[in-house]
Subunit: 257 residues, 2 copies
């Protein structure tokens, strides 16, 4: 029989609000779909519901921009209060002439506008910030789910981001627990005995991308996917999404910026 | 019932050689697995077997480097004959200090070493070049598969590439047929009626990434995946992977390079 990886969308997640127990919500939604979580399942969870549960929603009217925020707002055509939020989430800002700010956070993750985003957040001037520590959020979710179900699952927290050189956004891993983010082939042999020198596949990002096929970014109301039978991945403790963020001096594209 | 997208790995593909009819091979392998291809299936096919079928394998001993190739070889620490192959596949070369060449091909695709790669190619000095026109290869495969099975499928030809800012490689679409490479949410409303302004998801790249969960890069011998029930994608004629390659002036990261 052919190998089949399943990407299952959980559609019965209610609107999440601050203080909600996400693990309970996910376990309940999966039971309602007749799905029993099991060892090796990978739960890919949209950043937005994690941010909501953790109270990371901010109303612009409560934000006080500084003169530096005002200056950067003029340059980028953004609301200075939004610039304030983006700067608070960033260690470094590369400016962009196209009305966005390319940012690097304190963990080394490069993304757009520090991940501050308006979509699927209730309230006209309400924005979601990224979870303060997405790896910690993933680890907490993973432990809670194991406690509730007995299943040893992996958790990936995902967000969509634009990428250099290619049009459109794809889903990436911004936090993870219980999984090695890579399938490293270096030192292994290929079909003809040649020793692979470079191949180190970022499976955590591929799992996030696969999950997006059911999660969606609009009104789909499917913020969680379960990925099942992914034999390639390695359940493993002690990893974080930080391993996916590459320092400039090791980045083969680093000479460009 | 929950929405389930299936990613099915075709493990019974024999070693492919020049002149082979890939469509016949894929249809035969799927039948042997008990899978009947149907309308809406997305076939994700590894670039390597397309290159082999199209005779895009080159032995280094047959390559004559120019003085310019020799110079660039000195700078990058590469074999000058390999530099010759990479330069032939490129319109522009950004140099990299880390022993690789970042290249842009005549279609506008930016990748590493023009996609010239040694893994899973038979023969000590044999390298695979990318298909000459991956969109055309995809369209041909698609038409042949429709002729053989009656099923209207989409075809994505994929390759793994390194990305700026993130460690490791992921699978990307380098050619496609029968599918809109994007799910464009711009102008649609989110759960709370907010009109989405930016979200334009590169689903073709996400399908390629999802396929990699069964394809693998080592000895797996699974160069083709069938993705089934991906409701988000739109079967559509007249699209190409070129739409995924963004010109520098529209690239929000373009100011960096």
């Amino acid at each position: 029989m052919a190998k089949v990886v399943e990407v299952i969308g959980l559609e019965r997640i209610p609107l999440v609000k601050e203080g909600d127990n996400l693990a309970e919500i996910i376990v309940k939604a999966s039971r309602e779909e007749g799905i029993r979580l099991r060892d090796g399942d990978v739960l890919v969870v949209s950043q937005k519901i994690v941010s909501k549960a953790e109270g990371r929603i901010v109303k612009l009217r409560s934000v006080k921009p500084s003169p530096e925020d005002e200056r950067l707002a003029d340059d980028s055509g953004k609301d200075p209060r939004l610039v304030r939020l983006i700067r608070e989430g960033s260690k470094r800002i590369f400016k962009s002439p196209l009305g966005v700010l390319i940012t690097e956070d304190k963990r080394g993750m490069v993304c757009v506008n520090a991940g501050v985003d308006k979509s699927n957040v209730e309230g006209e001037d309400a924005y979601a910030l990224l979870p303060l520590d997405p790896d910690k959020s993933a680890e907490k979710l993973r432990r809670e789910i194991e406690r509730l179900t007995g299943a040893s699952v992996a958790v990936i927290i995902c967000d969509t981001t634009s990428r250099p050189f290619r049009r459109g956004q794809v889903n990436f891993a911004i936090g993870l627990a219980g999984i090695d983010p890579f399938k490293d082939y270096r030192g292994e042999r290929d079909l003809f005995g040649y020793v692979l020198k470079v191949k180190n596949v970022a499976v955590a990002d591929e799992l996030a991308a696969a999950a997006e096929l059911v999660i969606g970014q609009g009104r789909e109301g499917t913020p969680v996917a379960i990925i099942r039978n992914a034999e390639r991945i390695k359940a493993s403790d002690g990893h974080t999404a930080r391993e996916l963020f590459i320092p400039r001096e090791e980045d083969m594209f680093g000479f460009m910026f």
